[in-house]
């Protein structure tokens, strides 16, 4: 059966040196702690209710819940051990709950059966694995009492240096398929949309996913063609909030599967260590949320680097010594800090800089379709300015949107216009490229999130 192919042209593939080789290498150091960060889950309050503040805890044991979401949905401990620290940020908001790892993992037992939609729902809620889903619009954790109009899953990731998702579920095939069964049960007859790449080869494990009411679409083109938001926009749009959609990443289904197969929370996964400041970019097999120091030891080419949990577009900066990889991330990117002055650097290119602008050789090569991998850094490459250039954001947004006008509507807090220009259709990751290319160095993702929050609170 032939499936619809949606050809996207706009976008940009930022190629960075240091792609992780698809092999698992031993951890340079035994992980000592794991952390769960409430800030990874949008929609919950800054200070969730802690169910346990100290003492030993089993993997999967309820740890906190959010007042708005209700006690039905509990976030659980990612691993067993001793609660070592409740890390707090400004206004006492909880940034991370750190657990000192046991040598032998001890699992809290969950009751989880694949009987029907309700049993799956209950198991996911009480195990906290529910919160791995993201609801569109707004990019929040889905509410336990709601039902979506459809579920979307993107089967490929086009972010810079992102691992191939098939590799992430490799060796865990049975868990993955059990998770897939759970997802179908949860959907309970609602359509599940799967977005595949029309250009990158997929393996059978993904291609053979089947069942009633499954729709498959193929997408071609540069990043962000792998973003689930782009898929939704083209096949089942949420314009003006007309629909509610839940999204999930395939790699999380492995954890769902373990819950239903074994009744435990086992967040063992693969984490890629990538980019050109890493000596041997490859994969580790470890527990999600692990302390990043365990991955980095003897792996860094120099110390003056930024360690990012996730990719360079949407990831978060983490502390090299004390930081933890986000539970939701399967990659760590290490790039040099760009905090050095460059003599006439706005005019003279001292080293190759990736750009979509054809004022750079790199831009010309890109437009000619010649792929070049770059060493990147965290430099701003200019000062913040008001909007001057137009048409730049559209060039990298393969959606029927006017991103710059949307941002302007957010800046002037025009709620009606925000809605009409599609604030329901995008979250940060979808417009991250606009921020990358912006000549005026506008903080696009930050403004967008502020706009979404404003809209959500004013309109609901």
């Amino acid at each position: 059966m032939a499936y619809p192919v949606i050809k996207l042209k706009r976008g940009y593939d930022l190629l960075i040196e240091g792609e992780a080789e698809e092999k698992i290498i031993p951890l340079p150091e035994t992980p000592t702690t794991v952390a769960i960060k409430p800030t990874d889950f949008l929609g919950i309050r800054p200070i969730p209710k802690l169910l346990k503040k100290e003492g030993s805890i089993k993997a999967g044991e309820p740890l906190f819940y959010d007042k708005d979401y209700g006690e039905e949905l509990t976030w659980t401990a990612p691993a067993s051990g001793e609660i070592a620290e409740i890390r707090r940020g400004p206004k006492r908001r909880i940034e991370a709950i750190v657990i000192l790892l046991d040598k032998e993992q001890d699992y809290y037992e969950h009751e989880a059966t694949l009987d029907n939609a309700d049993s799956v729902r209950k198991a996911l809620l009480s195990s906290g694995l529910w919160a791995l889903m993201v609801q569109r619009p707004y990019g929040l954790v889905p509410r336990p009492d709601e039902k979506p109009d459809a579920i979307f899953m993107s089967m490929f990731d086009t972010h810079p240096l992102a691992p191939r998702l098939e590799f992430l579920v490799k060796d865990y095939e049975e868990d993955f398929l059990a998770g897939w069964e759970a997802l179908k049960k949860l959907a309970d007859g609602l359509p599940i949309f799967l977005g595949y790449s029309a250009e990158r080869p997929h393996e059978d494990i993904f291609l053979s996913l089947n069942g009633e009411n499954i729709r498959k679409y193929f997408f071609s083109g540069p990043h962000p063609s792998g973003n689930v938001g782009v898929h939704i926009h083209h096949v089942f749009p949420t314009y003006k909030g007309s629909r509610k959609i839940w999204t999930i990443k395939p790699q999380y289904l492995v954890w769902w599967g373990r819950l239903f197969r074994k009744g435990i929370i086992d967040l063992t996964t693969k984490i890629a260590l990538t980019a050109h400041e890493v000596k041997e970019p490859a994969f580790y097999e470890t527990i999600a949320g692990v302390n990043v120091k365990a991955l980095l030891k003897d792996q860094l080419k120099n110390d003056h680097v930024r360690v990012i949990s996730g990719n360079v577009f949407t990831g978060t900066k983490i502390d090299m010594e004390k930081g933890h990889v986000s539970i939701k991330d399967n990659m760590v990117t290490v790039i040099p800090e760009g905090d050095f002055p460059e003599f006439q650097g706005w005019l003279i290119t001292h080293y190759p800089k990736p750009s979509i602008s054809r004022t750079f050789l790199s831009g010309i090569l890109y437009h000619l379709g010649i792929p070049v991998r770059y060493k990147v850094n965290t430099k701003m490459h200019g000062e913040r300015r008001p909007f001057v250039v137009t048409g730049e954001y559209e060039q990298v947004t393969p959606m029927d949107l006017y991103p710059q006008h949307l941002l302007k509507a957010i800046i002037v807090k025009d709620l009606d216009l925000m809605e009409q220009l599609g604030i329901h259709e995008v979250i940060e990751e979808d417009l991250a490229l606009c921020e990358f290319v912006c000549t005026s160095k506008t903080p696009v993702q930050k403004i967008l999130r502020e706009g979404i929050e404003l809209f959500r609170h004013e309109v609901g």
Binding site: E337, T359, T378, G382, E383, R385, V388, E435
Partner: protein, 420 residues
Amino acid sequence: MMKKLTDSLWNFLQTKVKPHFTKGGKFENLFYLYEAIETFLFLPPEVTHDKPGTHVRDGMNLKRLMIHVVFALIPAMLFGIWNIGHQHYIALGEYVGLSEGLMDKFLVGLKVFLPILIVVMAVGGTIEVLFSVIRKHPVTEGFLVTGPLIALIVPPTIPLWMVAVATAFAVTFGKEIFGGTGMNIVNTALLARAFLFFAYPAHMSGDQVWIYLGEAADRVVDGFSGATPLAVAAEGGYQALKTFSYQSYGFWDMFFGWIPGSIGETSTLAILLGAALLLHTGVADWRIMAGMLLGGIFTAFLFNMFPANEYMALPWYYHLVMGGFAFGLVFMATDPVTSASTFTGKWIYGFIIGVVALIIRVLNPAYPEGVMLAILLGNVTAPLIDHLVIKSYISRRERQVSAIVPSPKTQEPVKESSHA
């Protein structure tokens, strides 16, 4: 070696100079002036810091964008300088050949052009810095382009004090009171020219202002005329251009640009070289250029079809090389701040300018040239054009979304579709 030198310059700036300009220093009010100089010399060490935000940024920035417009202006500027001298000498009957007296012509041109440019940059730059100090915002790069543009669209005989007044007016009331670069409604350089045009018409139009004669005004050759091709064509159309006796005003003369006119606007060829750079780098939007070109050709063609007078019968392609059409098309209409911001809007905006420019030029006897006014009108209508484009986008989306409802149980009919 170079690295050592620039490193020590950076250290000098940071340790010896910057403290005077930061809070508590002697010149803390002038911080943004210092910052402007520092960021001109060095791309600052600022790193990405927004949360949430990208960690890597494109190498592009506004300074780089603006400098490429300046680069694109260089051919027109060099040609303009030579042409001031060329027009000067043929008025005196010397160095009549194109290749003769290259250096002398160039020197005369420099003598005229440099003071204008210096006055513009000094006046405009001072006002920019003044505003940045008072309003406490960084000195932005806009004037880097606006300055040379103003100098290139005035006649060579313009008194310097007028240039100064016009620049001050345009920068203050055209840009800074709106909040500076990126906030202005009309093109600053064109506003300066419009100010001159309406305040001092005797110095901006007629047959006396386009050729610099200097102290040699009484030595001009017999039959001298300072009329521009536009003025000649307005009088008697194609025939008048052909029979104009003082100089040859053929199509190719105007294309290459050895004709009287505003300093930088005469050579279509030099402007096209600039256009090639702007289009290749993507700094200027091709949609606006294409729209205006189409609008101009369309209108001129319409005049050719229904020629009520000699001017209307002038072959359509002459209009593209006469007056300020090419310069306005490449450098003025494409200003991203004052033009339409949507792709569709850019086509419409360009087309309207092309049409209006020709209408004013040909049908309105009061003004021999219409490009300046057409672009200013375009600037003013650009927000309206965008508004209408966005409105139609919104209603299209609303219709489209209510139409897409997949059937509940089966995959939709398979068809290849192409988007964006």
